[in-house]
Symmetry: C2
Subunit: 345 residues, 2 copies
């Protein structure tokens, strides 16, 4: 009996030794495959790593319990390309022909007439009111299931004109690494977007590893009803419940999440209130803004730091100055990111 | 060298044997401490266990991938006592004196005058419109943080008049076991309540192990603003965003979760649409209704099955008949539950 016990104990010593060896090897591997590999060393990367270490190390004065670890990310311009036009707007414009096919009387009515003409110059001049009419016609009035199927089909076929790739390929690899890094450290990652909640939820799990219930966006009401066979379904209504932009972002976070994030990422004046709200909490809070200053690898627009102003996601000089004042970290795409997309060399 | 290897291999054989022994012991232990110990054997318990096994066993035709495992629970009358009055209504009535202290002019105005009189008979006669005025005065107009602090304070002090215990002690032990059982099998558990979302979120984590972001309830808007020092905060507004009852439940589920539940639990006509919506999905879906038929250990009310009708959560005979027709499982508190509360013998 004794020999078996001795042999077992001996083997435990050996097993521990093997485990230690394994851990050492894993550690060595980690050094050759560092955290956030698409980030250059610098204040932005350092801010992320320090924040995660401070809030997840047991015994740290800034330790955050796992159930409170919430991180929120704007989408357009923060997680993927928004220039020259938001992907969802592209979807709506490209859906107009299908809408007109179902309701031919719209073909002669503005703004549908202009969209059908394909005249990009005229389309660029459409007013916000015109755009709202297009959004209402293409995003509401159908069942939730039909809408999801349409978006899925469009995403599989549509391509960005510059990169000739599906829009879902155009996510920023460095930000994907931040999402993964935060989740590996117990953070729940949320998208908090001015874009349509239902639209983003169609691909969020596949593209970002973020499930639909962790997408907060501009949201309309739905109406519960029954089809001819008595089967219940939800219809998308043209009734705005949440305009998830500017002050609507903290309001949306309260509605949908119910507690304050510890980290928030944005890229425009639409994200200012979310960052303020995040930083106003106690303890360690991280607020970051992506600055599009890389005309070669992506786009350069601001108008912060003298970059050109555009129709999408405005990063004003006032926002830049506020960031510096409040300790929000500005991410320079040009300097902080080794590569932009997963498909980059 | 060979002897060490032999000894290591030998020890692995031993370790496997020990593990097997341990598993057998755990198995034996599970038999003396079975699943859902507060449930009597019967069709209700069987339906829950069969549903979980069918949807979580790899290779089962009804297997549900972990990210789709969503279960929704009504709260009042499903997870805790709702009779003779919803706890949140008690909170509102008891908050009236504090509200009047801040705004003394309300003391002479109905319905506040009646509430302050303490005349329970007169209070019972208040109209729905009166009640709405009380809810608006006690649930809105303050900051989110102040509201949370008030609710927390009230919950720590208030007691149910029959059991002389905090309301949060009055959760149903069998349902707590269902929550735990589902979560242990990869289900995300949600509360979907007609009660106030912000109210329930204050205690959901502590009482049910359900984090605030997994509470869907009747929700009002908030308004983002700044205090004198420039610090941002949210004020609760008297603006209804979601009436999370009846058809509002599937609508709320779509808004807040974005996919259809696989299991739903309720106890009244307010839950009918949630159950319908859940069952209308493909594959295995579980819909259950708690019937309050235990006048001794809790309360008996319906009016299904000839039980008396009351002001709270109505379980009509039509709902009972619909349940039988649709394959929704009715839980008899009297017959299906060994004990009602954790503090029961």
């Amino acid at each position: 009996m004794k020999s078996i016990v001795t042999s077992f104990l001996l083997s435990r010593v050996l097993a521990v030794a093997l485990c230690t060896l394994l851990l050492v090897c894993t550690g060595a591997h980690a050094q050759t495959d560092p955290l956030l590999p698409s980030w250059n060393d610098g204040p932005a990367k350092q801010a992320i790593v320090e924040f995660v270490q401070a809030t997840t190390t047991q015994g740290s004065a800034k330790f955050v319990p796992p159930e409170a670890r919430i991180a929120t990310f704007d989408q357009d311009g923060t997680l993927w390309v928004e220039h020259p036009m938001y992907s969802q707007v592209m979807y709506c414009l490209e859906r107009v022909s299908a809408v007109v096919k179902a309701k031919p009387e719209l073909a002669k009515v503005e703004p549908f007439k202009t969209v059908l003409s394909g005249n990009r110059e005229a389309m660029a001049k459409l007013s916000m009111k015109d755009l709202e009419k297009i959004l209402a016609a293409t995003l509401t009035g159908m069942s939730v299931d039909d809408f999801n199927a349409e978006v899925k089909k469009w995403l599989a076929e549509a391509k960005d004109p510059r990169w000739k790739r599906p829009y879902t390929d155009l996510t920023y690899q460095p930000m994907q690494e931040v999402l993964t890094y935060l989740r590996a450290n117990g953070y729940k990652t949320y998208i908090v977007t001015g874009g349509g909640q239902d639209f983003v939820r169609v691909y969020s799990e596949q593209v970002y590893g973020i499930p639909p219930e962790q997408v907060v966006g501009t949201a309309g009401g739905t109406k519960y009803g029954y089809d001819k066979s008595g089967k219940p379904f939800l219809t998308k209504e043209p009734k705005l419940l949440l305009n998830d932009d500017k002050a609507g972002k903290p309001e949306g976070i309260h509605l949908m999440i119910g507690h304050r994030p510890y980290a928030a990422f944005g890229n425009s004046t639409g994200d200012k209130q979310m960052l303020e709200y995040t930083k106003a909490g106690e303890g360690a809070r991280l607020a970051m803004l992506v600055l599009h200053d890389d005309a070669t690898r992506e786009y350069a627009y601001g108008p912060a730091q003298g970059l050109p102003n555009t129709k999408v996601g405005t990063f004003t000089q006032a926002l830049y100055d506020e960031a510096k004042k409040q300790g929000w970290v500005v991410i320079s795409m040009k300097n902080d990111w080794k590569r932009i997309f997963a498909f980059d060399e």
